[in-house]
């Protein structure tokens, strides 16, 4: 019984933390993008525009919810619900804080759902998160922008999903566990995995940008080509839900990269563990914005080229090499 209550409390905390994170991620992103383009960004609502996300949220509540007459009504409602659900489900396995050893010998984990197959579960949920976007395209009732957007999302999912999994396979081989805490323990004993597996790290970063559909792989909602892609027909709170899903995805993949490749909460003892952990997450979130401000968009045949023809063979070779090196007990670099 007490475990159920703890689980519910954890879930509420996670939803609250992620909601605040999403709100302020939009503010932060607009601010950084503004300064990259030598503008100021939001500054009118509150000091430094800090209340801007609040105003945006209130606005999206009062927006008119337009449903196109040709839309598939049940799917049109379902798509915005599914879009943030799967990223949230994946976020349930992400720890928000390093685990704490309790006095009675057990360990308290700061993730809603902790198991020995964390990584597998997160990958499965990330794989499903494409469904919201696909449904959005199908539900929009033949709107060409939505449809092409959804089509591209499908092409993108089949390309990046395999790279995401294969790039994680190298660290998994080395750590021999799917448990996120084991990854950090391994990296506390050895070097960070990014030094053993630099290529897998680069491949993972490419795949994680594609999985969050951000620039340069923001093909499903290419503003300049497809108006707003899959969410062209969605307005108000429904559109906000898609944004929610996207930002939570960014958080999940950033946290995953921080834990698997950059050592999670391990780091020099000058700062406490959770500070290191959140610094690394923010580093990746900044990377997303930085790339957004820099790169033009790839075509989706280019994305499939990168994924299938370049990264896939190289990653398979990398896995073979890692396996060989581990069998003969060679230091892998």
């Amino acid at each position: 019984m007490i475990e159920v209550i703890i689980g519910i409390v954890k879930l509420l905390v996670l939803v609250a933390v992620l909601s605040v994170y999403v709100m302020y991620a939009t503010w932060y992103e607009r601010k950084v993008m503004g300064h990259i383009q030598q503008r100021i960004g939001p500054k009118r609502v509150g000091p430094y525009g800090l209340l801007q996300p609040l105003a945006d949220t209130i606005k999206s509540f009062f927006k008119e919810g337009v449903v196109p007459t040709r839309a598939d009504k049940p799917l049109f409602w379902l798509a915005p619900i599914l879009a943030p659900t799967f990223p949230f489900a994946a976020a349930a396995a992400i720890p928000l804080f390093p685990p704490i050893e309790l006095s009675n010998g057990t360990t308290f984990y700061f993730s809603v759902f902790h198991s020995d197959v964390d990584l597998l579960y997160i990958l499965a949920m990330m794989g499903l998160s494409g469904f919201g976007v696909m449904l959005a395209g199908i539900a929009s009732g033949g709107s060409k922008y939505s449809f092409i957007g959804a089509q591209r999302e499908i092409a993108q999912v089949v390309s990046y999903e395999i790279i995401l999994a294969l790039a994680l396979l190298n660290p998994i081989l080395m750590v021999q566990s799917l448990n996120l805490t084991d990854f950090v323990t391994f990296q506390q004993q050895h070097l960070w995995l990014v030094f053993y597996q630099p290529f897998a790290f680069v491949a993972f970063v490419i795949a994680m940008i594609a999985s969050a559909s951000r620039v340069p792989f923001d093909l499903p909602e290419a503003e300049s080509e497809l108006v707003a892609g899959f969410n062209t027909e969605f307005s108000g709170l429904k559109m906000a839900m898609f944004f929610f899903g996207q930002y939570v995805t960014i958080f999940v993949v950033s946290a995953l990269a921080a834990i698997v490749f950059l050592g999670g909460w391990s780091g020099p003892a000058i700062l406490p563990g959770f500070v290191w952990y959140w610094l690394k997450i923010f580093l990746f979130i900044f990377m997303f914005t930085w790339f957004w401000g820099t790169f033009p968009r790839y075509r989706y045949d280019q994305l499939m080229d990168i994924a299938w023809k370049k990264l896939l063979p190289l990653l398979v070779l990398n896995i073979l090499w890692t396996g060989f090196a581990l069998t003969v007990h060679m230091p892998i670099i």
Binding site: V32, G34, H35, Q38, R39, I40, W290, G293, T294, F295
Partner: protein
């Protein structure tokens, strides 16, 4: 090296992230207008006698391409002339500055006031008193600027 072009782009955006924004927050901040810019007209007075410099020659009225200047002359007690009415209809003015160029007495000049929008057509007709006020304010500003230098 690998990703050379991508790294170059990233370094450029990172450099710009730490430069100053070029935004001018207009109603609270204003850009400095060019010294010889052609903005709102001003009528000038003699500094000692505080009399208007204009002698009613009518050249500005004549040269004005959009015919927006209206002068009604009057004779003073000392037999000099000065305008009883000097109106400029800014609704028609094209700010060409020919009136300033043609004025033999340097009576009309241009100030740095450029926010001239209004709600009524009638309010665009600036009278002699309005223009003298603009001139006084602008000359005071110029003198302050010179004092700083």
């Amino acid at each position: 090296m690998l990703f050379n072009d991508l790294r170059k782009g990233l370094s450029v955006t990172l450099k710009y992230l730490f430069t100053h924004p070029v935004t001018c927050q207009y109603p609270t901040q204003r850009l400095n207008v060019p010294e010889r810019g052609r903005w709102l007209h001003a009528l000038n007075l003699y500094e000692d006698s505080q009399k208007i410099k204009c002698i009613d020659c009518g050249l500005c009225e004549e040269v004005c391409p959009s015919k927006c200047i209206e002068i009604i002359p009057k004779e003073n007690e000392d037999h000099t002339k000065s305008p009883a009415i000097y109106n400029i209809d800014l609704g028609r003015c094209c700010f060409c500055g020919l009136c300033v160029e043609v004025c033999p007495e340097l009576a009309i000049s241009m100030s740095d006031k450029y926010e001239l929008a209004d709600y009524d057509r009638e309010k665009f007709i600036y009278t002699k008193e309005d223009l003298i006020k603009v001139g006084l304010e602008y000359n005071k500003k110029l003198q302050e600027k010179e004092g700083e230098l």
